[in-house]
């Protein structure tokens, strides 16, 4: 009852008091082989602001909960967390639509969410349960939704896959494009350069995005790359270097890149300068190759959620209470999801051999011994 009253108060305030939209100055983008870049300002509506805030906060809390569950050994194996990089996933989605396509590597929980997955099914996949988004068959690195092709475990392999998706978009005559993400570590992979070449030759509608979080596992960019100007590494492909901690910067750059692709000009490359608070994965404390001071500095000066929050509050686009309300709702959603992910049963053993082949009648699969005859269903 009190909650209802509070929300009535909030909503009656919103019509009268809040600024419906505001324009913000955003950091200039470094350009490679481009005469013009994205605009230097970005207009944010209150509605979008609240949406971005909620989504980034959801990713943040979901990742922190995953950290907790991993330490309790309820999540096992690989777990690569995205906290700190939220502005990238959310900003990119703000510049494209769900009918566009996206593929990334293994730091994929945030993208699974922005691409239509629910926290519940993501967490249940992490805990390996039957209601997981991949029915417990994939785990952290292998989550899929419509127009989202994972979640890929092999560094760099996702980039040519993304170009293939882009080829299909062009082939089928749609207006769609594919966003193909990779990290600063992957940026040196040969297959990525092979993909730059073919994407350019064939003018594929692909946006290459390098999420440069400064470290490829334990190796800093200076120790891995002869050139750390990742936005230029596409050579003949036009590039932009963007502040990846600012959701509005990312959004404007993505819109610009999307326009470039959709006008048939072929590929474009974006480097998002971002940062991960966690180590490479849950097995990496993340402080042997960087200082705690560095992490703390980014947190205090460049946190993407704080940046958006400050902008909205200082422009009267939302109230402190309203944002706190969102925080509470997000926390509850995560708690419920974690609860579900911990109690949902594991996949049935009948499912062990399923999904080997598509559209095939059931067949026998050899088990661990010649007498163990298992069945595969499509």
């Amino acid at each position: 009852c009190r909650h209802e009253a509070a929300s009535v108060v909030v909503s009656s305030r919103s019509y009268a008091d809040f600024t419906p939209e505001a324009t913000f100055d955003i950091k200039k983008v470094d350009l490679h082989r481009l005469e013009e870049g994205p605009p230097l300002t970005s207009t944010l509506t209150r509605e979008d602001g609240l949406k971005y805030y909620r989504t980034m906060q959801t990713i943040r809390r979901m990742e922190l909960k995953a950290d907790q569950l991993y330490k309790q050994k309820i999540i096992r194996g690989f777990c690569h967390l995205y906290d700190g990089q939220e502005a990238c996933a959310v900003g990119i989605e703000g510049g494209i639509t769900l009918s566009d396509h996206l593929i990334t590597a293994y730091r994929a929980h945030g993208y699974t969410l922005t691409r239509g997955g629910t926290v519940r099914e993501i967490m249940a996949e992490l805990t390996g349960r039957r209601e997981g988004i991949a029915k417990g068959k994939g785990g952290s690195m292998h989550m899929y939704t419509k127009n989202f092709y994972g979640g890929n475990g092999i560094v760099g392999a996702q980039v040519p896959l993304g170009a293939g998706v882009a080829l299909a978009c062009k082939y089928l005559g749609t207006d769609q494009l594919c966003v193909s993400l990779y990290g600063d570590g992957a940026a040196n992979q040969g297959q990525i350069f092979e993909t730059y070449n073919m994407a350019s030759l064939w003018k594929l509608p692909i946006i290459f995005i390098c999420e440069n979080n400064q470290y490829g596992m334990g190796t800093s960019v200076e120790r891995a790359s002869a050139s750390t100007e990742y936005y230029k590494r596409g050579d003949f492909i036009p590039g932009l270097r963007v502040d990846g901690m600012d959701v509005l910067c990312v959004r404007e750059a993505t819109k610009f890149a999307a326009d470039h692709c959709r006008s048939g000009k072929g590929p474009i490359l974006m480097e998002l300068q971002t940062y991960r608070y966690h180590g490479h994965s849950m097995s990496d404390p993340g402080v042997s190759y960087r200082t705690r001071e560095e992490i703390q500095e980014v947190r205090s000066k460049s946190d993407p959620i704080s940046m958006l929050k400050d902008r909205m509050l200082s422009n009267n686009m939302a109230s402190v209470e309203e944002l706190k309300e969102i925080d509470i709702e997000v926390r509850k959603e995560i708690e419920d999801a974690a609860q579900f992910a911990t109690t949902d049963p594991e996949p049935p053993l009948d499912d062990l051999c399923s999904h080997i082949y598509a559209n095939e009648k059931s067949f026998e699969v050899r088990g661990a011994t010649p007498w163990t005859k298992l069945t595969s269903h499509s």
Partner: protein
């Protein structure tokens, strides 16, 4: 053919029909043309099918298997790639993710090693990892195994390596009927198929019936074929070696030994039932393959026979005839002694039968 055309022009229609019908019951088609026609028909049938690879378009194919296709279908559907296997195999798999039905040619399967991660990790495993959400309807094809004088780096057989991996279908045609029916089946299959051709077979003609020339003629993947009935011993083989087995069987028949020759057609899933039924009939088994012996196709067949009901019917241990366990040498005399020959098959049969 020219006389037939002038006959047609002359207007004597019903006489021509009679002539055409009685001539059309059997066609001489070599393996290359069988593959070509299969691809042509499938490209026509389904707009989502396309071919990419090195030299497949304007060069008409390194081995001319895709001759004429670029002229007919154009740049959109027949795509020349740069020499970047890992990249274009990945692109092909991504296109399959997004709803197209690519045929990805490797100029030879040796070059697939550059792209093997895309074949295994991106293609084969994805349907399973996504719990049935993401299909990968792709065909990887190209010549496999030994050729003539191309030496070690260009002569490896990949049947065992790819046959090892769940999620893939691995097909190894021998003759034109196999090539045509299995390639059509592979292209229509919603799963990743590794299609292992053989360069030495491309130019070899075989008879195809009218039924086989029908545009919907497909051979089921996962079914072996008994090419020759026999009673004394079973020879199981795939690809070019099937021909050697038939030749060996002809020689042995003169000595009163009747060999049953089984053409695997598919490496994975392996048609164990057909092999077992044959072994239970003959009581003896020799496998024949071009690949290396260790951890090979023959090894798998022998293991399965040991583990199944057919073991009790064996009168002697099952034996494998394989390529010699060495990198392929260049000099002709050495190369000839690196691959299984007909005399090796005959020798092994006699040993097994204690003749």
């Amino acid at each position: 053919m020219a006389s037939l055309r002038s006959f047609l022009r002359s207007g004597k229609t019903f006489v021509i029909l009679f002539v055409v019908t009685s001539c059309a019951s059997v066609f001489q088609v070599n393996v290359r043309d069988a593959l070509n026609q299969a691809m042509d028909e499938e490209l026509e049938r389904d707009e989502r099918v396309f071919l990419l690879g090195e030299e497949v378009a304007q060069y008409d194919g390194a081995y001319k298997v895709s001759r004429g296709l670029w002229k007919k279908y154009g740049d959109k559907r027949i795509i020349d790639t740069p020499i970047t296997e890992m990249g274009f195999a990945g692109i092909a798999v991504g296109a399959a993710f997004a709803g197209l039905r690519p045929i990805c040619e490797f100029m030879t399967w040796n070059f697939s090693m550059q792209a093997i991660d895309q074949v295994i990790n991106s293609a084969a495993k994805t349907y399973y990892m996504s719990a049935g959400f993401q299909t990968v309807p792709i065909v990887f094809r190209g010549p496999n195994g030994s050729s003539a004088g191309v030496a070690a780096q260009h002569s490896q057989c990949f049947a065992a390596w790819y046959g090892h991996c769940p999620g893939l279908k691995v097909v190894s045609p021998w003759n034109s009927e196999d090539a045509r029916g299995l390639l059509k089946a592979a292209i229509r299959d919603d799963n990743p198929v590794v299609f292992l051709e053989n360069e030495m077979m491309y130019g070899v003609p075989f008879e195809l019936s009218e039924e086989m020339m029908h545009k919907d003629f497909v051979i089921p993947i996962g079914k072996a074929k008994v090419e020759r009935q026999g009673t004394h011993i079973t020879l199981v083989s795939h690809s070019r070696c099937v021909g050697f087995c038939l030749d060996a069987a002809a020689v042995l028949a003169k000595e009163g030994v009747e060999c049953e020759v089984v053409n695997l057609r598919t490496i994975r899933p392996l048609d164990v039932d057909t092999i077992e039924a044959s072994v239970m009939k003959t009581g003896n088994l020799v496998t024949v393959e071009g690949g290396w012996p260790q951890y090979g196709v023959g090894a798998e067949i022998c293991a399965r026979i040991m583990e199944g009901p057919a073991f009790n019917y064996l009168d002697a241990p099952a034996v494998r005839v394989t390529g010699v366990d060495i990198p392929m040498p260049y000099a002709k005399i050495l190369e000839d002694h690196s691959v299984p020959q007909i005399k090796d098959i005959i020798f092994s049969v006699k040993k097994v039968l204690n003749m």
